[in-house]
Symmetry: C2
Subunit: 355 residues, 2 copies
């Protein structure tokens, strides 16, 4: 377990378990509980302004003196396309009509890419969280260098061996290997090109080619999964869906109920919710809003702006058929435990597997 | 490892490794070499007449006195649809034209489903191979009962927990759990409904719900993979792509070269080759013959009849852009070793992982 011990040393944590950053689900309370339990908690800053992000870091720090991870979205900044956006809103109009309302008149890019937000970098260099992770791509090499100079460890998500190579070449410290099982947004650099490689294959493919330590993600829910991922070449694991049912998450009651129902057995990937491929529990966003013949999607996250309006309109009438409920393929194995107890359980199960 | 030992006893083999049946690739020589090395070799009878199938069983038996597995296709028998078939041939015409030729005038169902071929059952009851496995669905329960009465162990492939439940309810002895990583044809019962669940998630999901022993398939290439699959709940593993480069397989030189090239890193699933979803190395069959806007596909295997004609026309001119080259997502890890040496290597690696 040299590779695991080396990574534990680098991250300065006790257990090789990362709670995945999940916009809208993870909270400072969740991250702090996980970090206080000896694993690595994460907060998701990808959809926040710099000020909100700074407040979330400070809120987390008030709850733990242990290391935690802050996650940024490095997608290509959205390009507005009023014709495409209007066409998409026309496509959505019948769904809004079901709730007696209309789509918004126009769509906005409701949050900026980290790539277009250098004040976020300045804030990170000031706050100096222990770990910063990148999703959807990479920031400029200079920024990675600056973060390292500030004593920050960097992580980036790969869905293919090619992306892992780019991550290694950019000087990032650790690669998060995200298999197709994973819930939420796929980390693909180019949203139009998703190889959809399963966790089982991807860990092996990347561990054969990359010198970076691997944090494996996608379908890992318990100690068995942790042990298996490590057999395949991972030094640590990242679990997202496994933490949604923790009381410290901000998942609402409907989302929690769905995760504990038969619906948890049926997930799909769609780009029609946000503009980028992401996996969630199948509802009408997957079967009706997305269809083989849908018009071209507005850029991420402009598409998401429309979905959020539709979800809100439906939810306001007690309808959750258009709720955004991300989940991975092994979601039915999620357990409703306080975060600290979940970490303890995972560690205990993992040690039993190796015993 | 009780579950592994129990399965070894049931299958009467020394090692918990199955060489996957692969129409057009696996041979009696490959199956016999694998079985003689202490694992379970397989021959693929799905595309054979009863007489050809019987000859293949006898040819294998002449090369080994060890148990081997024979695989049957249990898809819904094809229904001819002349309009749909003509439309598909029109879609293919420009590709045939590239090679100065025309599509066939019509398409045929070039092999029958086991479900529509009771003489195949009679032959199996006469020949009594040790193991019979089912792909694409299940035969009537009565047939499974008859095979058991003849002392034959039965296996069936599941791609979802629901399919595993049907397999268990039908009285089959062992479930083959096929993750989305796997090369070749997906075992999905209904080709229009593929959940595409990754190996890592699927082994766990099925092992939590099924009492049947699990043979895991999809992305397993070496001893690390064997150990990991067993951690997740498998009793044994099935490897297909890992055996293609064996000299005993009937893969041609172009297929072998592709598997050992960069092309092995890029696989996709398409139904446009055969009429059922299957994973192979990306070439023009995936990018040009299949497209988002293709006409409705003829039934499996009628679609395949057209592809085979196109492949032959291209190959005749030295063009392999339309060659059918199935492969799994971890194909780049395949090794060119004689089958006996590959089995020995896998066992050695697996034991090292557990040591």
């Amino acid at each position: 377990m040299t590779r695991t011990n080396d990574l534990l040393h680098l991250l300065n944590v006790q257990f090789p378990i990362v709670q995945a950053p999940m916009v809208g689900v993870s909270t400072p309370q969740l991250a702090a509980a996980v970090s206080n339990a000896g694993a690595l908690g994460s907060i998701a800053l990808g959809a926040s302004t710099t000020q909100q992000a700074q407040e979330m870091i400070q809120a987390t720090r008030a709850l733990t003196d242990k290391p935690f991870n802050v996650n940024l979205f490095c997608h290509r900044p959205a390009v507005a396309n009023p014709v495409r956006e209007a066409t998409w809103l026309t496509h959505l109009a019948p769904f809004f009509a079901e709730f007696g309302t209309q789509p918004p008149a126009s769509l906005t890019e409701s949050y900026k890419s980290f790539l277009a937000n250098e004040t976020m970098l300045d804030m990170l260099l000031t706050e100096q969280p222990s770990v910063v992770s990148f999703h959807f791509g990479l920031p400029p090499v200079k920024w990675i260098h600056d973060l390292h100079e500030a004593g920050i460890t960097t992580l980036a998500c790969a869905t293919t061996p090619e992306e892992a190579s780019l991550i290694e070449a950019a000087g990032v410290d650790v690669v998060i290997v995200q298999g197709v099982e994973a819930g939420g947004h796929r980390g693909v650099f180019d949203p139009k090109h998703d190889e959809a490689i399963g966790t089982f294959a991807l860990i092996q493919l990347i561990s054969k080619h990359s010198r970076l330590p691997i944090i494996a993600a996608g379908g890992i829910m318990d100690g068995q999964g942790i042990a298996a991922a490590m057999r395949l070449g991972a030094a640590a694991v990242q679990l997202g869906t496994a933490f949604i049912l923790c009381p410290e998450s901000s998942a609402n009651a409907q989302y929690r109920a769905a995760l504990q129902s038969e619906r948890a057995y049926h997930t799909q990937i769609t780009a029609a919710i946000s503009g980028r491929p992401a996996r969630g529990m199948v509802n009408r966003l997957f079967t009706d809003v997305d269809r083989p013949d849908v018009p071209a999607l507005p850029d991420y996250p402009i598409t998401y702006d429309a979905t959020k309006a539709l979800s809100a309109a439906a939810n306001a009438q007690g309808n959750y058929d258009f709720a955004v409920q991300w989940a991975g393929q092994a979601a039915s194995l999620a357990r409703a435990l306080p975060a600290a107890q979940l970490v303890e359980t995972l560690v205990h199960e993992w040690h039993s597997e190796n015993g």
